[in-house]
Symmetry: C2
Subunit: 240 residues, 2 copies
């Protein structure tokens, strides 16, 4: 008997999710006014403070604009939302949006090498030592999910080494989009397990402080994963 943990989400959480989905799905079109807080509370059968908490959080993500005295308006999230919305877009209704997934892979391929280059210029041998520890752990790993976790740890160190707040925050956003899907992706990427060599080469370039080489090495680390996932996305679309 596999009991799964009961999820007791708060009312305002549920309202938040519902509103967010409605906006993203276009069910609430941009420019359209939302029902008043009192009306929402009545329709949903909850209290106004609960509605307000959800609404404030929605506004925080830029999906909606509340105006004191006036109506609350839906905004075009493609224009107004920031990268923090990504996790909500990537997996919606339990399914993975392949178009969004594709753009994640593309962004990773674009940004990753840049981070590696910066890390090479700024991280030095201390960073390389930390990376070695991770790759050592990789060699003794056979589990696909554990491998992916280590890969994330590796990049985590790299991002630290790049010493850039923007890349750090970008990485956090991408990671929190990536992480929920990790177990599912890990099985797709099972063939990668054990391929430590590309990481070793990247670490070597970092240790040498060689930015351009690190950039190229990072691309080589990322390419196989990107190809596999893009292929999987294409297959998923064909199925549909």
């Amino acid at each position: 008997m596999a009991l799964r943990p009961v999820t007791r989400r708060s009312v305002s959480d549920q309202v938040f999710d519902q509103l967010l989905d409605d906006v993203v799905d276009g069910e609430l079109a941009a420019g359209e006014p939302l029902p008043s807080e009192r009306r929402l509370a009545e329709v949903l059968g909850i209290s106004r403070p609960a509605v307000r908490e959800a609404l404030q959080r929605i506004a925080q993500t830029g999906l909606v604009e509340v105006r004191h005295g006036g109506a609350t308006l839906v905004r075009d999230f493609r224009r107004a939302a920031g990268l923090d919305l990504l996790p909500r877009l990537l997996v919606r209704g339990g399914a993975l949006d392949t178009a969004i997934g594709r753009s994640v892979i593309e962004a990773r391929a674009e940004v990753g090498p840049g981070i590696a280059a910066l890390a090479a210029e700024r991280g030095g041998p201390a960073l390389a030592a930390g990376l070695d520890a991770v790759t050592d752990a990789m060699t003794t790993t056979t589990d696909a999910t554990a491998w992916q976790v280590l890969a994330l740890d590796y990049w985590d160190l790299l991002v630290d080494g790049a010493d850039s707040m923007v890349f750090r925050l970008m990485y956090n956003s991408l990671r929190s989009a990536y992480e929920p899907a990790l177990p599912a992706l890990a099985t797709l990427l099972a063939d990668e397990v054990g391929q430590v060599e590309p990481y070793r080469l990247l670490t070597a370039a970092i240790r040498a402080g060689d930015g351009p080489t690190a950039r190229a090495a990072a691309a080589r680390v990322l390419t196989p994963t990107a190809d596999t996932l893009l292929g999987a996305f294409a297959a998923m679309e064909a199925d549909r």
Copy 2:
């Protein structure tokens, strides 16, 4: 007579800002528990719902973790926050954080050319026509701020052409960090006004669907601004 719009910020807004600043400044250290909602309300002299709204928004940005029945814990924002936090980090206490600013410039230099390359492969002549309209407007502009706005419009179209949700959201986050400082930056970048040629070359590469050339052209568009701003940041640090 320069009338400035009256700013009447809501109580929960002010609490939100205050808590956010305290977390970012490290005044509230990571791992530390926050005072209870009742206590905060009492100390701040406001109602508990107001405190809660602020707290929920703080939690939404990942700076804090609220647990039903337990204390609300401060998290390490460098680890937990997403790119949406950037605007709050870039300008704090009315002043611009040069370290953050530097990393914005770096990220722009890294991501911009990638966007241009994608746009070249996917945008086609229709995109190029839109870009032409913007560069035409640039030729008739002498005001530094107006020029910067047009430059943003140009990139906005480019991002649309890249047809990537991740880059779109990244751009939105970076733009909302950049925009508040735009008037101040515009004066620094006054020399750029009228330099339409780099943009024209980039548009040509887009029209031709030539990704690599677009990438290089985008780098040429971005480099002068980057150099100017990095120089200005260095000067600001020297002053300090």
